[in-house]
Subunit: 197 residues, 2 copies
DNA sequence: CATTTAGTGAACGCAACGTTCACTATCGAG
DNA sequence: CTCGATAGTGAACGTTGCGTTCACTAAATG
């Protein structure tokens, strides 16, 4: 926990501590209630150290989310059972949405117009979608290889469908889709669309 | 500045003026930048008159959005051409998202957890979804009647699919889906799922 | 016309923002 | 090892927007 022989941290060391603090705050009070002073206090840092690094709350939180995304295990090997694989990944997305990353995204969406840095926004969107596209494309490819999936299903709009449904559900309901809802998404929408029979 | 023949409005008369002002502000500066003082000034009303009616910004904006929703022409008669009907409605949703209602929704989503009045949230969700469900259900029913749509397509998850895709696109991109994207949604996802052939 | 009801506008206290500054711990070059 | 340069601290500050209060006044009521 806290070191009583407190040394004064600098550089990346301090930066990481701030990120961790921000993520914890995000998880606890949510984006809308996150206070810079609270993050600073939690990280045992001065407010000035935050503002030296990021111009405002939105930037700090985006940076923290990026930090978390890079430090998370994203490895995935498809089993060949398309439904099971998709479900597994969707449950993982749900877990993720329930934590600080979900809050970061909610806040980002809420300020999407205000910020309106179209360049930056596009990069964030890509950072969110790219990993998902890769995983779902892999699942579909495996399905195509073993004949359970139509080859035409490998289109970005369809590859993105499942994660997009997850996003929609999360944003509109305020919490991630339950397992029951994921099952419905799969059986009523995604699988009928991609299955080869 | 102040009109010498200034009549002082009251009740619903004043309330409408406040709603109009709020909607104009929403359209101009967006949810995140909307200031209560600006709304009051624009409506030529006192800030106290706003706070007498609604406890805070979020409530005022929700009320304004509701006000607009009830004063909008929602009539729709399906032509029997399912694709054309759906496209027409989706374009109307896009138009709507581009205006103050879209901003209201973005703001609501951004604060969904902070507000966290689960009761109220559910009512708002319903108010958004109900009219859409009715319209798309009608379109699908007509399609079922003339044999172009599978009867099993009349399931809430599928009925809601098109509007949900519109919502997802709007929230993540910051602006409504273009016509080209709507075409893709229809041809790659919605129609393959509901068509009877 | 008198009384009650409702809106105005200005002032207020408050919370959080983002900035500044004097002070201090750590780093690294010589 | 010493000393200057670099980076962090913590407190104070001005500012903005919130939501409230109050003395005043216009409109409705009867």
């Amino acid at each position: 926990m806290t070191d009583s022989t407190a040394s004064r941290r600098r550089g990346d060391d301090l930066e990481r501590a701030i990120f961790e603090a921000a993520l914890e705050e995000l998880a606890e009070v949510g984006y809308a209630n996150l206070r810079m002073e609270a993050v600073a206090a939690r990280a045992k840092a001065g407010k000035a150290s935050l503002y030296k690094r990021w111009p405002d709350r939105a930037h700090l939180i985006r940076a923290a989310a990026r930090y978390k995304a890079t430090n998370v295990d994203t490895a995935f090997e498809p089993s060949g059972d398309v439904r099971a694989d998709m479900k597994r990944v969707m449950l993982r997305i749900a877990e993720n949405q329930a934590g600080p990353s979900g809050e970061a995204m909610r806040g980002w969406v809420g300020e999407l117009r205000a910020t309106s840095d179209e360049e930056e926004a596009e990069k964030i969107r890509e950072a969110i979608e790219q990993p998902r596209i890769r995983v779902f494309a892999k699942i579909l490819e495996t399905g195509i290889a073993n004949g359970t999936v139509r080859p035409e299903a490998l289109h970005p709009r369809i590859v993105n469908l499942a994660p997009n449904l997850m996003t929609q559900a999360f944003l509109m309901k305020g919490r991630p889709a339950s397992e029951a809802i994921i099952d419905e998404m799969l059986d009523m929408i995604v699988l009928p669309l991609v299955s080869s029979d």
